[in-house]
């Protein structure tokens, strides 16, 4: 199913350009939002937007959407590892 013969793992030019426009839009949102004082939510909103942008880059530009499932498992494992390291560090640091 993933091994489509004609379009092995590619996106059309249009898709790539639309993703790029989306990324630029998210950039302008994050710059605008930074100017508004949201207090403690500022960092959360900035990181949320960065995560959404990463999702676009990883899935479309880096072709993960069209890649075999094992690649997604790899990324999940490395992502979870990073989150665990952050969590354990802050658990140690806060208490």
């Amino acid at each position: 199913m993933e091994h489509n013969n004609t379009e092995k793992h590619g996106s059309s030019y249009t898709t790539l350009i639309l993703v790029w426009i989306g990324l630029l839009a998210l950039t302008s949102i994050t710059v605008t939002v930074a100017g508004i004082s949201l207090g403690q939510y500022t960092l959360f909103v900035a990181l949320l937007i960065a995560a959404i942008k990463s999702g676009f880059v990883i899935n479309i530009f880096m072709h993960i959407k069209f890649e075999e499932p094992i690649f997604k498992v790899f990324i999940a494992v490395s992502g979870v590892t990073l989150i665990v390291i952050f969590f354990l560090t802050f658990a140690d640091y806060l208490f």
Binding site: L16, W20, T42, I49, F61
Partner: protein
């Protein structure tokens, strides 16, 4: 069964290549890069938590305009990189060469911006170990230390990327990268997108502290 597989991936099988394996190897390398930068983001997180006001104060001194411009440049270079791979997949070598050259051009523009940004900071006396910086509070010294190390390491990755992509451009022109053998270009693209990905996080954390 065997004939079935051959029908699906003919050229890869005949040439004894494993493109999926090659991409998997590249991803494993990218994970070591994520851990390298991840460690630095961890240090940043702990010190930002410890000195929120001083990080805020120091962050205000960075030029948001240049940061935003470099974000746009890097996102666009990622687009041209992805377009270059899509073009070679669609057997359009000329477009692929144009797009890869554009990626190199945007990388160069990024570095020019970085040069002016750092020059301005250094001429204001803000660089690691400078007298003016050491007179500031601990949190501000840490912020600028992390700023130089993290954006510096990122810029080093851009320079390495430029070298790799230049090789790919030569391979592409000399037909070493073709429409049925382009995994080298794909893997270089993965590296380039990772550099973009790291910048996506560096940008709000350093330039957008208001």
């Amino acid at each position: 069964m065997a004939s079935n597989i051959e029908a699906i991936i003919p050229t890869e099988q005949q040439a004894h290549r494993d493109d999926v394996g090659a991409r998997m190897g590249m991803w494993l390398f990218l994970f070591t890069e994520i851990l390298l930068f991840g460690g630095m983001f961890l240090i940043y997180a702990v010190y930002r938590f410890k000195y929120p006001d001083q990080f805020h104060l120091a962050g205000m001194e960075l030029n948001t305009g240049i940061g935003t411009l470099n974000t746009i440049i890097l996102l666009t270079s990622s687009l041209t990189m992805a377009l270059s791979i899509a073009a070679i997949q669609k057997k359009n070598k000329a477009l692929s060469v144009i797009m890869l050259s554009s990626t190199l051009l945007f990388a160069f523009l990024f570095m020019v911006n970085k040069f002016f940004e750092w020059s301005a900071k250094i001429s204001h006396g803000i660089y690691p170990g400078s007298k003016e910086l050491l007179e500031k509070q601990n949190g501000e010294i840490l912020f600028f230390g992390l700023y130089y190390v993290m954006t510096g390491l990122h810029a080093l990755h851009i320079i390495i990327g430029v070298v790799i992509l230049t090789f790919m451009l030569v391979f592409l022109i000399r037909n070493k990268i073709t429409s049925d053998n382009y995994v080298k270009l794909e893997n270089s693209g993965l590296y380039w997108h990772l550099v973009d990905l790291i910048w996506i996080f560096l940008f709000p954390l350093f330039y957008l502290i208001q």
